[in-house]
């Protein structure tokens, strides 16, 4: 039956989801071939928000190019900046003070929670439940306030610099983060009540958008998308950077491979992030927040590759340096771009309503895909 649907072209209905569509959360354009309600093919058309960040970076110095990466995956802005700082430090062999490392990891994990909160609300909205969106934003706003107090901005912080962080923590930072952890713990059961346990939600998610382990690897899926299929790919565990090798946390793995598994991975990851923050927040060592660096950074000639774990998966940063103050070529291996390529395989044969659920659990951020 399914093969019949997949091969016949009669009665095909081609609809455009996007570039302006409530489900795409941005300017993603999907051309969908349908047979009735059944999806035969999903074809992404990109480029509506392409700013050619890679080309832009070629004319910016190693201090300047970091701020641009906040605009890629704007929900993991800290982690993108972290990747850039790490790559420059690795190339120039800058020793980062431990205080800066701990601050960076705390900020990364706060960002990850904020990103997952937004994903949770937005995905519930895709499925048709509007209320969780506002409940998620209540906790997310608290994180944004903390960020604003220390970094001076809510979304595109530009806080990480080569050698450490730009400015020391705000005196209230530790207290506020502890308050947030308390708030999060007191509200997190609502997520289960409103969405996770709901029978309508579970039946919308179960066995929808199946992605096998082999496909997940072959499509280069990373982050919660791949971990939902049982692929161990957490860069924080495999190639620890900064103080990730000093904290105890668990790499969340689910074996279902369906939308529900990907959903559960993210929900459980929030708890892991909270636990990482709890371990670090009382143990921020005293010392410098920034290593002494030269005013003008010049990377040695060569090629440098850094991998970090953003909220969406593995972000790779490939710098080709010719020994100048600006990079010769920069490539951002963004997690969203690879995750998106799996959408067609996942969606074939399911209903149009499922597509929204799959896109929700892929957690697509369009500027991250387009760059």
């Amino acid at each position: 039956m399914l093969e019949e649907v997949a091969t016949s072209t009669e009665g095909d209905l081609v609809i455009n989801v996007g570039p302006q569509h409530p489900a795409t959360h941005g300017v993603l354009h999907l051309v969908i071939t349908l047979n009735g309600e059944t999806i035969k093919k999903v074809e992404p058309h990109l480029g509506y928000i392409h700013r050619s960040i890679e080309k832009m970076c070629e004319s910016l110095t190693y201090r300047q190019f970091i701020y641009v990466t906040s605009r890629m995956d704007y929900l993991s802005a800290h982690i993108n900046n972290h990747a850039c700082a790490l790559c420059v430090e690795k190339a120039m062999q800058i020793e980062v003070p431990e205080r800066a490392q701990v601050i960076r990891v705390i900020m990364d994990e706060l960002t990850r929670i904020a990103s997952h909160e937004l994903w949770w609300g937005a995905m519930a909205m895709d499925i048709g439940a509007f209320t969780p969106f506002f409940h998620a934003f209540r906790e997310r706003e608290t994180i944004n306030d903390i960020m604003e107090e220390t970094c001076g901005a809510r979304l595109t912080m530009n806080y990480m610099v080569p050698g450490g962080v730009m400015i020391d923590l705000h005196p209230d930072f530790q207290r506020k983060v502890k308050e947030f952890i308390k708030l999060f713990r007191s509200k997190v059961h609502e997520y289960d009540e409103l969405v996770t346990g709901n029978i309508i939600f579970r039946s919308r998610m179960k066995d929808v958008g199946f992605l096998s382990k082999e496909d997940a690897i072959s499509f280069g899926c990373t982050g919660p998308t791949a971990r939902g299929s049982g692929v161990s790919c957490d860069i924080r565990k495999l190639y620890p950077y900064d103080v990730y090798n000093k904290v105890q946390f668990e790499e969340v793995l689910e074996t279902g491979g369906d939308s529900l598994a990907r959903y559960m991975v993210r929900i459980r990851e929030m708890h892991q992030s909270i636990s990482i923050i709890e371990q670090l927040i009382d143990n921020i060592p005293e010392g410098d927040f920034q290593a002494k660096t030269k005013a003008v950074l010049k990377l040695p000639k060569g090629e440098f590759y850094t991998r970090v774990e953003t909220a969406r998966g593995e972000l790779g940063l490939y710098i080709v340096s010719e020994g100048a103050t600006t990079p010769y070529r920069i490539k951002f291996r963004s997690p969203g771009f690879s995750n998106l390529s799996a959408l067609d395989t996942m969606a074939r044969g399911s209903k149009l309503g499922d597509l929204v659920a799959m896109m929700g659990t892929l957690d697509l951020v369009i500027p991250d895909i387009d760059r």
């Binding site: 201090r63 701020y67 970094c151 901005a153 530009n158 730009m166 009540e193 409103l194 346990g197 709901n198």
Partner: protein, 158 residues
């Protein structure tokens, strides 16, 4: 047993729905949980953190003096070409020529509030202000000259 499972499914499903309804019902009746901020009304009480990056400004003291030496460090640090330093030569009382700023042109419309210029400034002449309501009717109004007319450099700042 098929029938038992069927009935169990129905009841557990209804229970999960009622749990959700209890949660929304709780918020429906507990209005103190409301988190809405009535933004334009709370302007007077709205307090932004002192580190908030809203706009680059150049503070002047009571004698209309600033700390900018015109070294163009900020201009070089800026990734977007937001800042343009126009220098002139002042004649100091003892007859020497001294470099000073004529105008420090700041293009707010190009600024991404990345804070790199503030970090780069060796004499702390520019800081970030906590303003955020930047909308104007004419784009030209966003191009600002940061130093006040007739201002001069503070004594002792090199």
């Amino acid at each position: 047993m098929f029938i038992v499972k069927y009935i169990k499914d129905v009841f557990s499903g209804i229970k999960s729905l009622l749990v959700g309804m209890r949660r929304t019902g709780y918020y429906f009746t507990h209005h103190k949980e409301i988190i809405t901020e009535q933004y334009p009304d709370n302007r007077d009480t709205l307090k932004l953190p002192e580190r908030f990056k809203g706009e680059v400004v150049m503070p002047h003291d009571a004698n209309n003096e600033h700390r900018c030496t015109g070294c163009t460090a900020c201009e070089l640090a800026c990734p977007n070409g937001t800042i343009k330093v126009v220098t002139k030569f002042d004649i100091t009382p003892d007859g020497k020529k001294k470099k000073a700023i004529d105008k420090l042109v700041y293009h707010l419309e190009l600024c991404t509030m990345c804070n790199l210029c503030i970090v780069a400034c060796p004499s702390d002449a520019i800081v970030m202000a906590q303003t955020f309501e930047h909308s104007v009717f004419d784009r030209a109004e966003l191009t600002k000259i940061l130093n006040n007319p007739g201002s001069r450099i503070m004594d002792g700042v090199e």
